[in-house]
Point group: C2
Chain length 772, copies 2
Amino acid sequence: MIEILKNKMTPERILSAGVGLEREGLRVTPQGKLALTPHPSIFGDKLGNPYITTDFSESQVEIITPVFDSVDDAYHFLEALTDIVINEINENNELYWPYSMPCDIPEDEDIPIAEYQGEEGKKARAYREKLIKKYGGKRQLISGIHYNFSFSDDVLETLFRESGGELSYRDFKDKIYLKVLRNFLRYRWLIVFLLGCTPGLHGSYIEKCLACMEEVDSSETFLSQDGTSARNGSCSGYKNEIDLYPSYASVDEFIASIEEYIKRGDISEAKELYAQIRLKPKKFNDVLGSLKADGIQYLEIRTIDLNVFDKCGIAKVDLEFLNIFMLFLLLEGEESFDTWQQEALINEVKVAEHGLKADLELLDHRHWTLKTAWAEDILEKIAEINEYLDLKQDHCIEVMQNRLRNPQTTYAERLKQLMTEKGYLNANLELANEYRTDSVSRRYCLKGFEQWELSTQILIKEAITRGIKVTPMDAADNIIALEKDGHKEYVKQATKTSADTYITPLLMENKVVTKMILKENGIPVPAGEEFFSVDEARLKLPNYVGKKVVIKPKSTNFGLGICIYDRGGTIEELLEGARIAFAYDHTILIEAYVAGLEYRFLTMGDEVVAVLHRRAANVVGDGIHTVQALIDKKNEHPYRGDGYTSPLKKIKLDDQAQLFLKQQGISASTVPRPGELVYLRGNSNISTGGDSIDYTDKMHPRFSEIAMKAVRAFGAKFCGVDIIIEDYSNPESAFGIIELNFNPAIMMQAYPFEGKERRLGYNILKTIGLAD
Amino acid sequence: MIEILKNKMTPERILSAGVGLEREGLRVTPQGKLALTPHPSIFGDKLGNPYITTDFSESQVEIITPVFDSVDDAYHFLEALTDIVINEINENNELYWPYSMPCDIPEDEDIPIAEYQGEEGKKARAYREKLIKKYGGKRQLISGIHYNFSFSDDVLETLFRESGGELSYRDFKDKIYLKVLRNFLRYRWLIVFLLGCTPGLHGSYIEKCLACMEEVDSSETFLSQDGTSARNGSCSGYKNEIDLYPSYASVDEFIASIEEYIKRGDISEAKELYAQIRLKPKKFNDVLGSLKADGIQYLEIRTIDLNVFDKCGIAKVDLEFLNIFMLFLLLEGEESFDTWQQEALINEVKVAEHGLKADLELLDHRHWTLKTAWAEDILEKIAEINEYLDLKQDHCIEVMQNRLRNPQTTYAERLKQLMTEKGYLNANLELANEYRTDSVSRRYCLKGFEQWELSTQILIKEAITRGIKVTPMDAADNIIALEKDGHKEYVKQATKTSADTYITPLLMENKVVTKMILKENGIPVPAGEEFFSVDEARLKLPNYVGKKVVIKPKSTNFGLGICIYDRGGTIEELLEGARIAFAYDHTILIEAYVAGLEYRFLTMGDEVVAVLHRRAANVVGDGIHTVQALIDKKNEHPYRGDGYTSPLKKIKLDDQAQLFLKQQGISASTVPRPGELVYLRGNSNISTGGDSIDYTDKMHPRFSEIAMKAVRAFGAKFCGVDIIIEDYSNPESAFGIIELNFNPAIMMQAYPFEGKERRLGYNILKTIGLAD
C-alpha cells in the first residue's frame, strides 16, 4: 500500500486529509466556579449554530470547526472560534476554562443542563436528563477535543484504483476506515501518553474519583502520582457503566453488536457508546441506518484531553502528529485475537493512570512489553514512513520522541508541577486569564483570515458568532457566502451585497451625476458648475475669482486632484487648479467651499450606524516626553499596526513628517507643552497614522437625517456619506455634502481610536436580512 | 441694454437660450391620402407621452422636444424624434407628410378626430369637436413648427441686476417678454417672408381657399402666384373668425382682454386665441391664472411653416437666425400707436399672400415702405448686433440676406417650382420617401446621441418612442434617467440597472466563484481545478497531459491569456499555457475543453431574449469577384461602420488579414469559387469585422433553459451567457458554460448581420418595470 502512495502521489496529496475539530469547555467565574448563567444569546439557537453550541451543560460551550483539508486551516479556525467565545463570555466577565476536568462545580442538582427550544430541543433535553441520572452530572462536565479525520478522496481513490481488488469503492472505504479504527484502538495508549493532560482533579469532583488521587492542598487540589490522563482512566472519565466491545470486523457486524447492546439495555442509543473512536455516518440523526446505507464517512477520535497550555485546547504540532499517526494506522499490519480489545483497554487505562511511571509495562499481543521501548518502536516506524514518502513531518515526530524520552516535558507532568505550585484553580485561572488577554487584544481581527481585509474579517466573525454558515469563496477578492435557514447571501468586501442595486454605486462614483440626483431630491449641494476643457474653464473661472471654492475632478479618486481655495484664489491660481483636476478626469467641477470638519456618516439599511471624524496623525504633549517618545508611546496601542491588518496604522516619523514638524519650527526632539496638540501630517488619512474619532452619539441628529436623505435618493443601503460641517452640534450650521462612498470601510468605525467600538458586522447582517 | 450684454457677458452666455420645438405632420398613405388608421399604439397614451402625441386629428402626429439650451441640441432631438416617427409609421407603410398644408384629404365627416382615454381625454375630444364645427376640419389639419423661446436666466438676471430699475425680477421678466412679443408681432412679416413655405394647396382643400390660387393641373395642384405662406394668409390658415387684438401692454391687461373675448363668446378659452406668438405660463391647464401667479415663462412662436426641404420641418440655419432675431427684438426700440397691431397684421398677410412680388410695400408706422429695403434694414441691424457682441452668427444672417436678395432661393419659390414640375402630391411624396429612406437606413442609432454608446442609443430611442421621459445625465459614462408615471430608473450602459444587485456582477467577473456557484446549483461545469503558482501548476499539470483542456486566468478579460488544447498538450505546452495565463491573473484555471461553436444567450428578466453566434470576418465567393471586391461589397452594408457607432464594423484588409489569407494560400486578388466561405481572421470579434448571426429561433430550447438556470443561480436579470455547444439543434449535445457577462452588449443582437432584428430596448424597459 505504501508503494502505491510512493509511486502514484505527491507528498502534498498524501498528506491532504479532512480535519475537523470539536472543543468543549466550561464557562467559569473569575473565581473558577461554574458559571450558572445562560449560554450567551448572541450565539443564537444552539441547534442552529454550526460553530458554537452547548454540550451537556448550559455552562459548557462547544466549539465546532468545519472540515478543512489541512491541519493549519483547521487549527486557525479553531483559534478564531476560541477568540470569539472568549470575547463574548468576557462581556459577562466569565472565563473559558482551559482544562478537561471540571472547575469548582456544584452538586448534580445545581448543574444546569443545556436548555433547548422546539421539538428537537425537547429530545436533546430529555436525553441529557437520562444521562445525569445514569452517570451523574459531574462526569458530564468533563471536556475534551474531538478530532474528526477522513482520508482525502484523492488518497482513497488512488488506493482503490491501484489495489485492484474486487470490492466496490464504498466497501473498500469502509474496510480502510475499519482497519484504521481497530489500529487506533490498539495504539491509542500512545496518544494518551503523548497528549494526556489531566493529572489532577478539583475537590468538588466525584469523591470516589478523588480517592484515587493525592490531596496536595486544603481539599482543593488532588493530583495523580504518575497518571497522564484522569479523563481516560478507569474511574473519572467518560465511560459506559460496563466495558463494551462492539465488533469492528465490518459495518454490518458493528451495527449488529450495537443493536444488541441497545436491546440488552446497556445503552439507549448508538451515540451513548462512549468509544474512544467512532465510525461517523453521513446522517447524524440516524447513525446505524446511515452507516448501513452510505458507509463510513470519517472517524471521530475522542481520546484527546484539552491541552491547557494552548488557548485552543490543542497544539498545532499535536494535530500534525495525529495526521501522520493516522497514516501509520492505515499502513501498519494487524493481527487479531479474541481479547485484543480488552488488551487495548488495559493498555489505555494503565497509561492514563500510570503513564509517567518509568518502567511501565503494557500488553503487546498478550506479552508484557516495556511501554518506552514499544513507543520508541512505533515512533520509529512513523519516522520511516515520513522519510520514505518524503512527507517532511520531522518536526512533530521529534517533538513526540522528546516527550517520550523526557517525560517532564509532557503536558501532564508540566501541569502537575503548575498545580502543585499554584493550586488547581489558580493554575487554570491564570492560564484562562492569559488567553483572555490575548483574545481581547486581538478582538478586531479573526485568526486564520489574515489574508482577508479587516472589514471582511469583522463580518465573518460576526456571522460565525451568530451561527450563520460562512463559506469563504475567494480570499483575494474578499468574497464570502453567508447562509442561515436556507437564506443565502454573497458578500464582497463586507459591504458589496445584494442589498444594493447594481446601478447605485455607478451613480455614486460619478460626482456630476451624484450632484444632479442630490439636487433633484431637494438636498442642498454646493453651488457650482462643470467644465469640459481648460479653455472653457478659462472662460468661466473669472466669475469665481476671490470666492471660496473647491476645484476637483468629476470622478472619485481618493481625494486626488482637488484644490481648495478657502480664502479665494486669483485667476491664475484657479486656472492652475483646473489644470491639476484635468490631469485626473476629462470633466472637472468647481464648487462653493464649505468651511468646517469632515465627518463620515456610515449608513446601513435605514439608519446611520456610525459617525466618524478622522484627525491627522498627531501626538499630545505632556511636558516631559519628546515628539519621538510620544509617537513611540502612541504606537503601542494594540490597534496600531502596519499594512491592512489593523484598524489604525503606526505613525511614522518619515521625511514628510519631519518636514511638517520643521514647518512648525519644531523637531522630533522637541518636548511639547502639556496638552499641546502636535500634528505630524497635513492629511487626515488613517493610512498615514491618523486617528479615528467616534462622533456617533455627539453628532446633531439633523446631519444624520441629511445623510440618510442623501442615501435614500440613491436607494442605497450601504454608504459612507462625507459631509463637511462647521459646527456638528448646531443644527443650523453650514454644511456641504462632499461625497457618497459606495463601499465604505467599516474597520475604523468598528474599532475607533477614540470613542465607542461598534458592532458593525451585526449591522451588515441585519441589512442583508441575516440577523434581526 | 446692449452695453450691459457687451460688458458683462461672454458671447456664449448671451446666445444661450431655452429652445423647444413642436412639429406637427400628417400620416399619409403611399398615395398621399390621409391615413385613416389609429395613431400607432407603441406611442402609448397620447396624454402621457411627452415627445410624440397627436394634435387635432388622429392622423396628425405631433412631435415635441424638451427645452434645450442650444439650437444644436434642440434640432438634433427633433431629428431623433422625426426618425422615430418615420420608422414607426413605416411599419404600417405610411409616410410622414412633410408639408404644412394637408395632403389629399376627405370631407369633414371623414376626418378622424384624435381619440383619447379617460376624463382628460373626454375634454380634449369635446374641444376638438367644437373646433371642427366652428372652423371646419380641413383647416385643423394644417401643420407647422412651434418655436418655444426663453432667454437664459443668466441673460435675464444680468440685465435685471445691471439695469437697476425698481421692478421686481418677475415684473422685469414679464416686461422683457412683452416687449419681445410686441416686436415679434411688428416684424413677423420678415419671418413669413424668409421661412414661408406654403405656396400651394391640394384640390381636396377648402374650395373658398382654392379660389385664391391658380389651378396648375387637373384639379390637384393649386399654386399662389407670388405668395410665400398660404398658411399665414387671410384665408387658408389657422385664424380666429374675427381678428382679435388683445392688449400686450402688461400681463394684467392681456388677461383682461382675453377674459373679455371669452365673455363676448369670440373664443371659448384662452388657447383658442390663434395668435402668431403666445405668452406661455407655468401651468398649461390654467393659462390666465398661471400667467397672473407666476408670470411669463417663455414665448411660443407659431408663424413658421414646415420646411419641406428639411426632414425635420425646419432647417438648423433658420433656428440659428431665429435665436439672434429674438435678441434683435429685445434690443430694438418700439413706438406704440393705436393701430400698431392692425398694421402688423396687414404686413403679415401681404407678405404671406404676395411676399415674392418684387415691389411689395408694407406699412411702417403708417407709411408705405418698400418691403425689400425695410428687410435689408432689419437684417443690417441684426448683423450689427452680431458684430458688436461678437456672436459669430454671420452665416445665418448671410443666408437670410441671400434669400431676400434672391427670392428664387426662398423655400416658397423652390417648392412652387417643384410642384409645378411634379404636381402637388408627387412633389411632397418624393420628399417624404427620401426622408423615409434616410430614417430607415439609420434606424439603429439616434440622431444627436452619437457620443453615446449604441446600446444606450437603442434604449433611449425605445424609451422616447413609448413616452418614457429620458434625462441624459452623463454621456461619457452613458448614464441616463428614465421616468414614467412617477417611477424613475437610472441606467448605465443600457444594462446596468437597479434590476440587478450590486453583488451579482462582482460574482460573475470572478471565474472561480462563478464556477462554484454554478456547481452548487447543479449546473454542469467543465471539470478542472485552479492553481495559484507556476510551481503548483507544474506539480499538477501532469494529470492533464494529452487531455482536451483549456487554461485561462481567473478573471474575465476579453478572452486574453486563454490557451486551448483541443487535441491535448504536452507537459511543456501546458506549462507554457499556465505561464501565459499567470501573466493576466494571480490565479489560473484548467478546465476540460468542450468542442463546438460559441453562442451568446442574452437574458433579460426571466427570459432569453436573443441568441447569437459570432462568425469571424469573412466573404462568400461568387466565382466572379476577388476577395478585395467581395470585402468592398460587404462593407457597403448600412450597419457596417467604424468605431463604436454602428452595429457591425467594416472588414479591413490589414496586414493581419493578408497574412491570414496567405496562410490559406490565397490573396486579396484571388477569386473564390461560388459559395466558398473565405475567412479573413482567426477571431470572431465583431470589432474586427465579424458577422453577428441570430440563432434565437433556431437554438434548441434546452440550452436556453440551461442559460436561464445559470443566470437564476446568480439572481441576475441582465446577462450574456456564453455557451459552447457541439450541436445547437440537439438537446443531448455536449456543452460547456464559458462565461457569464454582466453588462452584455445588445447592439449586435438588436441589429444582427443575419437574422431577425430584435427590439431589445423594449426588453430592457420591461425588465426594469417601465414597459408591460
